[in-house]
Amino acid sequence: MFYRQAGDFKTTYRGDIQTFPLRQDRIAYYLMLAFAFLVVPFVINDYWASAVLIPFLILAIASLGLNILTGYCGLVSLGTGGFMAVGAYACYKLMTAFPDLNMMIVVLLAGFITAAVGLLFGIPSLRIKGFYLAVATLAAQFFLVWLFNKVPWFYNYSASGQINAPERTMLGFEVTGANAEPAVSYLFCLTILTVLALIARNLTRGRIGRSWMAIRDMDIAAEIIGVNPLKTKLSAFAVSSFYIGVAGALFFSVYLGAVEVGEVFGINQSFLILFMIIIGGLGSIFGSFAGAAFMVLMPVLLKNIMVGGLGWPTDIAAHIEFMVVGGLIVIFLIVEPHGLAQLWRVAKEKLLLWPFPH
């Protein structure tokens, strides 16, 4: 009744292809953007910024990246953790080699380096498909982690092999290191995420996005209409790795501050990001956000309820947390196999018709 399509006619194709064709959606979008940029930084406390929102923003970038590869181009990858590690180590090397470099540039360069590595590991995708490819990307995962652990140059020959993010600034504000204001770090990540999300949206709605989806849906037919499979798959690998590399760089420098590669960027990280996009919705920008939010917030929420609220022992709470998250994944799949994004779409369609269902 309040959410209406009526009277919102499109007179140009330009109007029809915009991201939010409905005016109400558009207004809501701008309001939220304003809220995130102008209100949230001034009201959140350290806990919310450092422990919940920053990881959410960064993992949303990573899941956007993986969604481009897996959701849009149909190539299942389990090497996300390894590629995030590439971003993190590239970031570390750049930070220590060029201490005066603007942090934004460092992060973007780390992304490009990861994109190059991603291209390399994307080559076998031309021949290997489906789960075989998924398992094959594990080769990248394990090899990269091993490499960063083994070659001392990557961690500047430090005694233990850990890498630590030194303090770096952006426009005079510290964004990394212990003295960075969480709100500033939050804004830094939010800015990057917003820009990258817009770019992801732009790439996926145009020629390149359609060529990715064509390869995903039916590679033979895609070829027949002129899509070069190798170039298309590699471009998906490169773009996806760029996002994941940026996420890795931020994960290390802004969020954690110190990283041990095997622990932080291990296979668990790869699976976590994959869970995010599947739960959120494959081939959906919104799904990437929803999935990241679900996987970051759900455990925190459950923990707060069970330990903070009900006062249960932490181990029982942790076990039940596993069971609930696992159970929810299954239930979601049964209710809506196409993820939270589809659930959201259906809800909106219903709302459009409400209260007159026919």
Partner: protein, 268 residues
Amino acid sequence: MGARAAAQSIDQGAELLRVDDISLSFGGVKALTDVSFDVLRGEVRAIIGPNGAGKSSMLNVINGFYHPQQGEVWFAGSQRRNPKPHNIAHQGIARTFQNIALFNGMSTLDNIMTGRFTHMKQNMLMQAFWRGPAEREEVQNREKVEEIIDFLEIQAIRKTPVGRLPYGLQKRVELGRALAAEPILLLLDEPMAGMNVEEKEDMSRFILDVKDEFGTTITLIEHDMGVVMDISDRVVVLDYGRKIGDGTPDEVRNDQAVIDAYLGVAHD
């Protein structure tokens, strides 16, 4: 000069495509043996023959899925050397499939927009910015696609995911996707298989309209003899991978070899 431009400059009625002595086999099984024929610009050329005669294999050779062990393919006056299917698309050859090969995850509109792939040039950077050239290109191509949607009378299903469409409409969307490429040569693999009479009539009308309105050269495989004889200018007949007849529908209909090998055998 690219192959597409070369093909474009060929006169109506002149030779657009020629296959010479094509032989193709899969691990000892011969699919095609010494097949030769030509396709003239602007005509509807049909390939007929019983099941397993090698018709689809012939189309696959033309658009580069299979590379024949022997023989030459000439397109727009130059010989092709084992190109990839996506190169062929850029030369101006489009096709549809016997079993529908649509992009099931996308809407009708997106499927047909994807068909415009060879006509869109903006690079990734421009796409990422969107505003400006990329958006302009998108809108221009959208206009073309809307023309095709109007032409095929599928306005109502524009935003429907193709997976949900009935069979007949899916066939039509697939034709739309092929047309969106503005092909010079259009290959249709059994465009009317599985359709009822009404749908077949619609499809025949579309094929003839394509030929007349866009001047597209069409090569099609079809089982329904009536349709083939009605809409095609010339017919090639294959049997067991060999060419056994070639000519106008009337010539073929009266060719004794064709009658023996084919018309007397299958009626589907």
